[in-house]
Amino acid sequence: MLGHSLLKIRPAISVLRSYSSAAKQMTVREALNSALDEEMSADPKVFLMGEEVGEYQGAYKISKGLLEKYGPDRVLDTPITEAGFAGIGVGAAYYGLKPVVEFMTFNFSMQAIDHIINSAAKSNYMSAGQMSVPIVFRGPNGAAAGVGAQHSQCYASWYASCPGLKVLSPYSSEDARGLLKAAIRDPDPVVFLENELLYGESFPVSDEVLDSSFCLPIGKAKIERKGKDVTITAFSKMVGYALQAAEILEKEGIDAEVINLRSIRPLDRSTINASVRKTNRLITVEEGFPQHVVEESFAYLDAPVERIAGADVPMPYAANLERMAVPQVEDIVRAAKRACYRVVPLAAAA
């Protein structure tokens, strides 16, 4: 199938079953940029704020061209004061504007976490519906390459454990575009976790995705690859790894179903449960420190749930240690085989 040949050329591409395979290529960076551009032009209340988003064209070039188009009143270069500008964003949202606050990486959001949780997430509840906070906090999340412990943490589990926040994590360009548009239009605080290493990756996008009113629903996962033997759930960069693992498993006769969670909170339990009830085996993959587990389909499980996560250590710097601290494709393959009771004797671990 054409889809498969595309997969061979670029291993990280998701198999888009419902769209024509003769599609336009778009990088995640372009997807995010176009989503921001379209939302800012559609609604004058939307503005972007963050470090280096303006003149520097974005620390990772996501906001390229926006300053020229919308001016310094809507694309604000801030001083280095996350607590301050996140708070200013929340205040603006209280009064009806729709800020998009960019953190250079989500590690820096820790300086602002008080505002994300206490003034954004909890406000609608504390005020009994009076103060809704239509704000988006976005930025790269998780490990890059060789950037050390303070630049590599995955914050999905931290933010996903807080009621009042919606947490999204796109994988492909289609996800990036649709979810960012949905996040900006959403009346609640959204934490949008991107991934630095995915920014440059290209994915095919259909015309529907390129339409300016395209929007993905929040809270729905996507089945990237249908299968019947084992379910692998993942988000962000790990979806790419899971797809690679699925290919390796296919050669060994294991047909894996890969679910791209897209939305961490609210988690799409129904899709995951339906899948597990079909395959009876579940493997969850995440880059960060171990967290979430779905227990509702317990009765349908033929094997214990395999949770693959990052090592329970701050990210080391040395390249070989860093590789060991995050899940790799081989880990997913091994776990799938274990779940299918085809255990490969583990050689003196790599």
Binding site: E51, E52, G54, E55, Y56, A59, P72, D73, L76, D77, T78, P79, I80, T81, A83, G84, N107, F108, M110, Q111, A144, A145, G146, V147, G148, A149, Q150, H151, A311, D312, V313, P314, P316, Y317, A318, A319, N320, L321, M324, A325, A349
Partner: protein, 489 residues
Amino acid sequence: MATMNWRNLGAYADCFLSLGDTGTQSGSLIDFPATVLMARNKKISKRNNGDSDMRKKMVETREKKMGTAFSPSKFAAQPFPLNTTSQNNPLTIPTTASPFLGSTRKLIRLSSSSNLNLRRRSGTVVKENKSKSTPNLLITKEEGLELYEDMVLGRAFEDKCAKMYYERKMLGFVHLYNGQEAVSTGFIRLLKQQDSIVCTYRDHVQALSKGVSARAVMSELLGKATGCCRGQGGSMHIFSREHNMLGGFAFIGEGIPIATGAAFTSKYKREVLKEADCGHVSLAFFGDGTCNNGQFYECLNMAALWKLPIVFVVENNLWAIGMSHLRATSVPQIYKKGPAFGMPGVHVDGMDVLKVREVAKEAIGRARRGEGPTLVECETYRFRGHSLADPDKLRDPAEKAHYAARDPITALKKYLIENSLANEADLKAIDKKIDEVVEEAVEFADESPVPPQSQLHKHVFADPKGSGIGPDGRYRCEDPKFTEGTAQV
């Protein structure tokens, strides 16, 4: 007029000091925003002519108040350029200009098109040194050579890092210190081993100045087990307990409370634990971008409140990645923030190692004597981009050229030679020696092994085998002795 004359002022603590006012015609950083914005706001002030007198009065009363907070010194009332006309009082600029100051591109264009004096200090270093080297020179030959060697080590090491990064032997983020060596050398060479320093991610050269070996730092950057943090920290997280280099922090502003805490410990040891001679000083190094972060102000307050032995060293290189200091800060003169919290704020030319050293001597001395903290703003410049991944397109090449001409190493070299403290041959020998040291460090790092797999889980906790595992290999919580308590369970 005597330059470097603050020695004559007596009690340093009472002075609202600016070393920039040498009384000569050229400006200092204080002038920079004013002179540049002056030209731009000529147009705006023409519009707001009527209010300028009232604003001028407001400014004057404010200045008078600031002047009396500390004993009236000739410096207090006149921080601003000497050539201001009444219409263009720079203090009013933030209120007349729109809240969005606009792009640096505008500022840069202005500065290159007008005859603004962008020079921060009068003349060249040598001229000044000649005039201030009255009977005694500021340094002896040994000190001079030591300073030279330290700065050259910093420069050679950073250049080697750049080379290795482009050869893909070094990964991740690498932030280089080229151009700022005078600050590191000027301050750190005055410290004792037990004094501590804390930096941001631009920490290679401070670590070297403090005494961490080039081998250990280079191995760390290549992620080898022989690195100072065994490959677990990386470029941005150089730690050394032995040399009291307390890091290496990726978040700017994060190191300042750490340094303040180290200073607190020093005071605590002296006063509570009665370790009589504990006069250890802490230095916190950080940049201009950090001065807009809340942690900076919180620590200025507490350090002054508790009279902690700390010196806050601002390496103001005017740029925070691509964000110009002037676009990000309402009051760009960082040294002024010291007196607001009750400590002296000093402004010094960070491209001149001898000036930095003189200020450092006084500030460190003050801290050691228990007189409290000092805020020192060093005007300096980084010759390379923010990191090796930074395309560095926003900085004006004229600005870069201006500072490249004031390279601290070349300046010191000139000083040493012209004052007969050393000759070309001595300095060349040092250059050669440093090249060999750096080469050897690279070889050592290349030949070192990568960390073993077993190291992944080590040192998460202080337990010897990490992750809660005790010396006998079992989990500590399984050891009955460990879980012994006095409660009846």
